[in-house]
Amino acid sequence: MAKTPEQVVAEAADRTGRSPDSVLRLLQEVNREFGYVPHEAIRAVSRITGKSAAHVRGVATFYSFLSSKPRGRHIVRLCSTVSCEMKGSSEVLKALEKELGICAGNTTPDGRVTLETTSCLGLCDKSPAMLVNDVPYSGLTPETACEIVRGLR
């Protein structure tokens, strides 16, 4: 059976500790497990660290890699900063939006892929670049980007 947010938080707390210092790390673990930070997890982190739910939510909403909405099984982050834009990231974005049938910031209806744009990924020597989950891809063209995304199950 799938773990509940409370279980994930409790197990993670055994590794990170239960002090207020652990709030972000607990949220990172929750986000990794569920792809987002569900409301129940906010309350669980609050209980376990002794910080208010408002504080925990404040942390969760600060960081762009933590999501408050459910997301797809795969997360595609395409860089939209200058060096990539100069090398055609807008065309890559258009192609990906067409391929997936969604606009950036959304998830395919089948829950397969979330498409986002992001700030510089530190791969500008090989622009345009994107991060698919934890894997970097660079030197993209609309075709190669779509091919990579098509391969995600």
Binding site: D21, L24, T49, T81, S83, C120, G122, D125, D134
Partner: protein, 402 residues
């Protein structure tokens, strides 16, 4: 001038610098780094040795060595390349710092966008542990040191050192007031040094070759060499190592650039110069070289470039203080209006230049203090508008409310 030390194919044996350092008195290492005039490679250019001397002298049983691997400045990727190639040298540099200030614990704060570097660092750490270069009682002495990797979660401002500390302590990455400075009260209130990846990787070379050698590497009174990430309209984008104080032109020759309209040095918050200023120097006294150099050829619309950077600043401001949070929004709106042709002359833009100077003077951290730079440079230097238009300004819509 191209001059390779960090990227030299001829690398000293791993651990030899740590061994040499541990034959010295801890305070002497900090003095050596100070004498070398090694200025922090993360952008601000604070003398690393001064930081180390202060942290070494600060009272506290527990001290921390933190590596800033948050590299979020648009156009910067040198730290990624350094970690890919020299993660072990980074750990060695951190261990030397630990010995110098009396710390047994290092932390690498790695940006969320670099998850694939975690295994690279962990492998280097394992090698160092089994080689006796990290861990307990190094070289049979009393000094122990180990390093942990902690991840960011996608917030550019966390590269600011006190925001980084907030983030490590599990909170929103909002910069702190200074003082107190991290060297006295940093991570968990303990004396802490925070240095850039490149700064730490440079240290073993200084320990092995001496402060004087290092100072001699630079041009015109600048010390050492520096890595530059160059991207945009160049034939060979990548990381280049040059003597500090080299000119922009020398770097562009290496990377291959033609028809240069503009060069941005130091990232979005750095300075943007025109293509006829290539004799400007990459030096903390002229163009502070964070690491990023982006080249724009004649076909680029610099206002579109500015729009892209303005979006970045609006998105990444932590929102804690008004001049930065609201100022960046206003500048972004102004850029949109310039693009739509709503402003007829420079006089129309006066109030935005004033806003830019308010942001510089009154923002709480370096983010807000520098984020108007590209507006000032690009609108000031690249926009073709008459000084004052012939229209009667009182009747001009862009002067409403003045």
């Amino acid at each position: 001038m191209k001059r390779e030390v960090l990227l030299s194919p001829d690398q000293p044996e791993l651990g030899s610098a740590l061994r040499r350092a541990m034959e010295m008195e801890p305070a002497d290492i900090a003095f050596e780094v100070r004498e070398a005039k090694l200025l922090g490679r993360g952008g601000a250019g604070f003398p690393a040795g001064v930081k180390w001397v202060l942290a070494g002298g600060a009272s506290g049983a527990k001290k921390y060595v933190i590596c800033n691997a948050d590299e979020g400045e648009p156009g910067t990727f040198k730290d990624r390349v350094l970690i890919e190639r020299y993660a072990d040298r980074l750990l060695e540099g951190m261990a030397i710092a630990g010995y110098a200030i009396g710390s047994d614990e290092g932390i690498i704060y790695l940006r969320a966008e670099y998850p694939y570097l975690v295994p690279v660092i962990e492998e280097a750490r394992s090698r160092m542990l089994s080689g006796g270069l990290l861990g307990k009682n190094l070289f049979g002495g009393r000094f122990s040191f180990d390093v942990e990797v902690r991840m960011g979660s996608g917030a550019y401002v966390c590269g600011e050192e006190t925001a980084l500390l907030e983030s490590l302590e599990g909170r929103r990455g909002e910069p702190r007031n200074k003082p107190p400075y991290p060297v006295n009260s940093g991570y968990r209130g303990c004396p802490t040094i925070i240095n850039n990846v490149e700064t730490f990787i440079t240290v073993p070379h200084i320990i092995l070759n001496g402060a004087e050698w290092f100072r001699g590497l630079g041009e015109d009174g600048d010390a050492g060499t520096k890595l530059f990430s160059i991207s945009g309209d160049v034939e060979r984008p990548g990381v280049y190592e040059l003597a500090m104080g080299s000119t922009i032109g020398e770097l562009l020759d290496l990377a291959g650039a033609v028809d240069i309209q503009a060069v941005q040095v130091g990232g979005a918050s750095g300075r943007t110069i025109r293509g006829d200023q290539l004799d400007r120097k990459l030096s903390f006294r002229d163009l502070p070289p964070g690491g990023s150099v982006i080249v724009f050829n004649g076909s680029r619309n610099m206002l579109e470039v500015l729009r892209n950077f303005s979006d970045f600043f609006v998105h990444e401001s932590c929102g804690q203080c008004t001049p930065c949070r609201e100022g960046n929004r206003q500048l972004r709106l102004a850029v949109g209006k310039i693009l739509e042709g709503e402003f007829c002359c420079r006089r129309c833009l006066d109030s935005f230049f004033e806003l830019a100077s308010v942001m510089k003077d009154t923002s709480k951290c370096g983010f807000g203090q520098t984020s108007a730079n590209c507006f000032v440079d690009i609108v000031g230097g690249f926009l073709d508008l008459p000084e004052d238009c012939s229209r009667v300004h009182e009747q001009n819509p862009c002067h409403e409310g003045r």
